[in-house]
Amino acid sequence: MRYAFLDEEAKKEIRRSILKAIAIPGYIVGFASRELPVARGWGTGGLQVTLAMINEEDTLKVIDQGCDGSVNAVNIRNFIKSVTDVKTTTNTKEATIIQTRHRVPEIELQEKQTLVYQVPMPDVLETVEPSIAKAKLLHANADYSKLWVLLYEDTSMFGDSRISNRYPVMVNDRYAMDPSPIPKYDTLKLNNCKALQLFGAGREKKIYAIPPYTKVEPLKFEDREFKVENFEGKKCSRCGSQDSFLDEVYDDDGVTHYYCNDTDYCDNNLNDGEK
């Protein structure tokens, strides 16, 4: 078995695509998505990006919607561990590579960390322009008026955008980009992030990136506020945190509980409390 599963040619090609993506923040770069022992659409894009860049000195963390313990996260972590033998962790601070599905960790990421997103739909224009050829031209022309009209129509009919996740962002004042289905809550964390952010879509065969310290802004009207999920008056039933993204859970009696979505953040809060 080769180190990191992929053959060296494949890794070389993926690294080249990653470099191009970093050089043009927000631009979608194609790559030849390889077969993996995971079905396409289950994180193969993120997996290939991770496998192409991981080495012996890395510490890996994999999360699925904030959780280190969900089936998808555990399986991907075990798979990468089995083909590379790198250290794995659930601690956000210790990790050098964090592969994530649909969440950005709660605590601020640092330089030299890399956040790898698993992306289902890489092109933000897909919802408004079904033809990929035309969408490419719109990107080339920085013509995002159709996204704006969508935002206009939502604002006129509902008072605000209806998009709850996958909120379109402008990267470096140039490309409109799909940030993968992270909640609106996380959108602002992409801006000026100290860590390198890479996006891999295995089924769609696309890679794109946001280099560290890059301007990333949600698409919004100049005279309208960008609103995110509001958890005011609610706190985590486990650690008591009031400033994290919360999951709503109903128990058998129909009582509503709230828990931190980021399990590592919640665990750390508990540990700190015990100290």
Partner: protein, 278 residues
């Protein structure tokens, strides 16, 4: 001059050296005898001053619409130069719009010119509401403030006598005449310097035609943009325009004040055209 066209030609086909010389009104043909190319527009020179309204008349196939599309860049001209005021290169010199890149082209089409098509389906996006259609044009011309966009849409819908309460309805729920008026609202919402109209009232009933023509005329007086109207309906031309050119087989065969052309046509084809009015 707000628009200046010099020796503009459009040839569909191979385009051999004989194309332009062996077609035109004198030959009564648009098809090149050597290479069988179709010459849509043959060596046209045209200028338009600020606030001027120009009419283009001619039989079908004479190149009226093609000429308009060459100006709006729906099609690329094969030869010639087209200059538009305020469209300048980096050194501030006026720039041939045939050399424009994609970005400059969208600026040209979004901020400097607007086109009103005969069929509203070409000018409107039926997946967007009436307000959304107008918003698209306003956004493309650079405005990113919701309230201003909304007010602009309301303003122009009111100007074109569409009930403003219907701003969020989709175009297919409006009648044909109303759709045409939404298209006019959309075209005007970016404050264009030149408005291009391609048979704006053909296919509408007479009372609606009259209303839309009055509206266009009124808005033109009020806002003062320049206008080019293509029509085979001499009534529309007479009603709207100050000067007129007559086209035949891709060439301009006569030009002058509209009254002059309609009252005292010189070219045999124009005489035929004017005398054919029912």
């Amino acid at each position: 001059m707000i628009l200046d066209m010099r020796s503009v030609s459009k040839v569909f086909g191979k385009f051999c050296p004989n194309c332009l010389e062996t077609t035109g009104a004198d030959f009564n043909s648009s098809i090149c005898p050597t290479c069988k190319s179709v010459v849509g527009v043959n060596d046209v020179n045209l200028t338009l001053a600020k606030g001027e309204v120009l009419g283009i008349v001619g039989e079908s196939g004479s190149g009226k619409s093609t000429l308009l599309q060459l100006i709006y860049q729906d099609q690329k001209a094969s030869l010639g130069e087209i200059f538009v005021k305020e469209f300048v290169g980096v050194d501030g010199e006026r720039k041939n719009i045939l050399d424009a890149n994609l970005n400059e082209l969208s600026h040209l089409r979004n901020s400097l010119m607007s086109m009103i098509y005969q069929n509203p389906r070409l000018g409107l996006n039926y997946n967007f509401s009436a307000g959304g259609n107008i918003a698209e044009k306003v956004i493309m011309s650079g405005n990113k403030k919701y309230d201003e966009i909304r007010n602009r849409a309301l303003f122009f819908l009111e100007k074109t006598e569409i009930p403003t309460s219907r701003i969020d309805d989709y175009p297919e729920y409006f009648s044909g005449g109303q759709q045409q008026r939404i298209q006019i609202s959309k075209a005007l919402s970016s404050n264009p310097k030149i408005l291009l109209l391609d048979e704006p009232t053909t296919g509408l009933d007479l009372s609606v035609q009259a209303k839309i023509l009055d509206l266009i005329k009124e808005l033109q007086h009020e806002i003062g943009f320049s206008m080019i109207v293509v029509s085979h309906d001499l009534g529309v031309i007479k009603h709207l325009t100050d000067i007129t050119v007559v086209m035949k087989n891709g060439q301009i065969v006569e030009r002058g004040l509209t009254d002059q052309i309609l009252e005292d046509p010189q070219h045999p084809y124009t005489q035929l055209l004017v005398s054919s009015v029912l």
